[in-house]
C-alpha cells in the first residue's frame, strides 16, 4: 500500500527548472534511497515534500488510513503534523539549546495544555511536562544521547549532532521520515553505526524512510529501492542491484561513453 504518492512534481526558480515532472510512490514500511549527482534536485524534492518550497505544479499525496491528503501548498508545520519529519543536509539544530530541549521542542505539537496553563503552571502543565521529559529521555536513550541531555547542541561532536537531528525528527512522531544526507562528513565507522541505527529506528517506530545520501555503501546496503535524480529528472528506479547496472545512472555519474577515446 502506497503511503506517499508524488505526481508530476515540478519546481522552477525563474528560468531554472530544478525539479521537472518527477513522479514516484513510496510503499508503507519501505526504505527508499534518493541519489543523484550534485545539483540533481534531491534536496529540492525534500523541500517540496516538506512545504519549505511550494511546487510550481504537480501533486504530493499522503495516504493515511486509506484517506488521501494533498500536501502541496501546505505550510511546513501542517505537513509535519500530518506525519512527515525531516533532517537537514546542513545541520539545523537549535544550537543554543540543550539536547533535551531540542527533542522536547519537536514534541510541541502533541502538548495538550494551553496558554493559561503555561502562564500559571497548573497541574496539567506539570503532568504534561513530566511526560515530555520522560518521552524525550526514552528517545535519547535509543539514540545513545541520554548522557548528554544537558549539553548545548552546538557543543556536541559532529556525529552526535547528526544523531540529535534524527532524534528531533523522531520526536515529531512521523510516519514518513526524510533523512537528508545523514552520513555526510562521517567516517566509515560512524557510517556503519548510522546504518544500524536507521534500520533499528525503522523497525522500532514503524517508519517509512526516504534517504538522500552520497555514501553508496550506505545507500546500496540498506535501501530496498532507489530513485535516481539527474538535472531535476527521474532517470531510473529499481533495486540496488538494478541501479548499479543501469546505463543511464552510470552515465549520469561518470559521464557519457564517447567511443574509443
Amino acid at each position: 500500500m502506497a503511503i506517499l504518492s508524488v505526481k508530476k512534481l515540478t519546481k522552477s526558480f525563474g528560468g531554472l527548472t530544478a525539479v521537472s515532472n518527477v513522479s514516484f510512490e513510496i510503499e508503507k514500511g519501505e526504505l527508499i534511497g534518493l541519489i543523484g549527482p550534485n545539483g540533481g534536485g534531491k534536496t529540492t524534492v525534500f523541500n517540496l515534500l516538506t512545504g519549505i518550497y511550494v511546487p510550481t505544479s504537480g501533486t504530493v499525496e499522503l495516504i493515511k488510513e486509506g484517506k488521501a491528503k494533498q500536501l502541496q501548498g501546505l505550510k511546513p508545520y501542517t505537513i509535519c503534523r500530518h506525519g512527515l519529519a525531516r533532517t537537514f543536509q546542513n545541520i539545523r539544530l537549535f544550537k543554543d539549546l540543550t539536547v533535551l530541549d531540542n527533542v522536547r521542542i519537536a514534541m510541541h505539537k502533541n502538548v495538550k495544555y494551553g496558554l493559561i496553563s503555561s502562564f500559571l503552571h497548573l497541574p496539567s502543565y506539570v503532568k504534561e511536562e513530566k511526560k515530555l521529559v520522560q518521552k524525550s529521555m526514552e528517545l535519547l536513550t535509543i539514540l545513545k544521547l541520554n548522557e548528554k541531555k544537558d549539553e548545548f547542541a552546538k557543543n556536541l561532536p559532529y556525529g552526535e549532532q547528526r544523531r540529535l537531528e534524527i532524534a528531533r525528527a523522531l520526536a515529531a512522531e512521523p510516519t514518513l521520515l526524510l533523512l537528508d544526507e545523514p552520513a555526510a562528513g562521517m567516517n566509515p565507522a560512524e557510517t556503519s553505526d548510522l546504518k544500524e541505527l536507521i534500520a533499528l529506528i525503522r523497525d522500532k517506530f514503524n517508519l517509512t524512510v526516504l534517504l538522500i545520501d552520497h555514501d553508496m555503501s550506505l545507500i546500496m546496503n540498506i535501501c530496498e529501492r532507489i530513485y535516481v535524480l539527474d538535472h531535476g529528472m527521474l532517470i531510473a528506479n529499481g533495486t540496488p542491484e538494478e541501479i548499479k547496472r543501469n546505463k543511464l545512472v552510470i552515465e549520469a555519474y561518470l559521464g557519457e561513453d564517447v567511443g574509443d577515446a
Binding site: Y77, S118, E129, A171
Partner: protein
Amino acid sequence: MAGFFKKSWAVKLVSLASVFILVQLLISAGFIDSYIQATIATICINIILAVSLNLITGFTGQFSLGHAGFMSIGAYVCAIITLRIGTTGSFILGVFAGAIAAALVGFLVGLPTLRLKGDYLAIATLGLSEIIRIIFTNLKITNGAAGLSYIPRFVNWFWIFIFTVGTVLLIVNYIKSSHGRACIAIREDEIASEAMGINSTRYKVTVFTIGAFCAGIAGALYASYFYDIAPKTFGFLKSIDVLVIVVFGGLGSISGSILAAIVLALISTFLQSFSEIRMILYALMLIIIMIFRPQGLMGSKELSLSLFKKAGKLFSKKERV
C-alpha cells in the same frame, strides 16, 4: 525532586515577601522619601517594559521598536477611566482595560507585520508607535498635545510590587513552558522549527500580544503614579530606552533585564548631580559597557541559586589549587 521544587518555591516566596515588607517598612518609617519612591516606581515600570520586550526580542527574536506605543495605550485608557470615575476599583479596571486595549492593538498589528523579518519589522513597529502617538496628539478625549493631567494617584508601593512581580512571573512561567520553548526555537532557527511542527506566525503574534499587554500595564501604572501624561512622553526615545535595558541586561535573560533596569536607574540617578554632561556620561558608560560585555550583563543566562552554587564550586576549586 518534588521536595526540591517546593523548597525553591518557598525560597522565592520568602525572598519576595521580605523585599516587599522591607521597602514598605522603610517607606512608613520615612527613610525613603518621595524622590526615591519615584525612582523605585520608575525601576518597576521599566522592569515590566523590559521583561515583556525581552520576551518579544530576546526570546522570540523579533526586533520590535513599538513598545512605547503600547505603553501609551495603557496609560491613556487607564487615565481616562480613572479621571471619569476616580475610585480604586476604577484604577484596577483601568489597568486591565488599558492592557487589553494594548494587547488588542498588538494582535491586530502583529498579524500583518510579523510576516516581516529583522530590520523591516523594527521599522514597521516604529511606524506603529508613531501613529499611535500622533493619534493621541490629535484626539479630543486625550486632550491633544497637552495631554491629561491631575490623574488621581492610586498606585502605591503595594500595587507596583504586585503588578511587577505578577507580570514577571507570568512571563517566566510562559518561557518555561512548551509554548515558550517553541518561541525560543523560532529565534534559533525559524525554518527548522516550522519543519518540526511549530506554527511560527502564531507564536510570534501570541508573544507580541503578551508583550503589548504587559506594556499596557506598565503604561497604566505610569499614568497613575506620575499624575500627568502627554504624547511626547511615549515617543521613539522611550522605546529605545526600553530596548537599551533589554540589550544591556542580555537578550534572552529575564534576570538580566531586571538587573539592567535597576543598574541603569541607579546610574542615571547618580549622574543627576552632573546635570550638564549627564547624557554624555550616560551614553559613554553604555558604550564602554557594551564594548567589554557585548552580550549584556547576563548574556542569556539567568541569575539563580544554582548559578551561585556553581560559582562557589569554581571558587573553592581555585582555592584548593
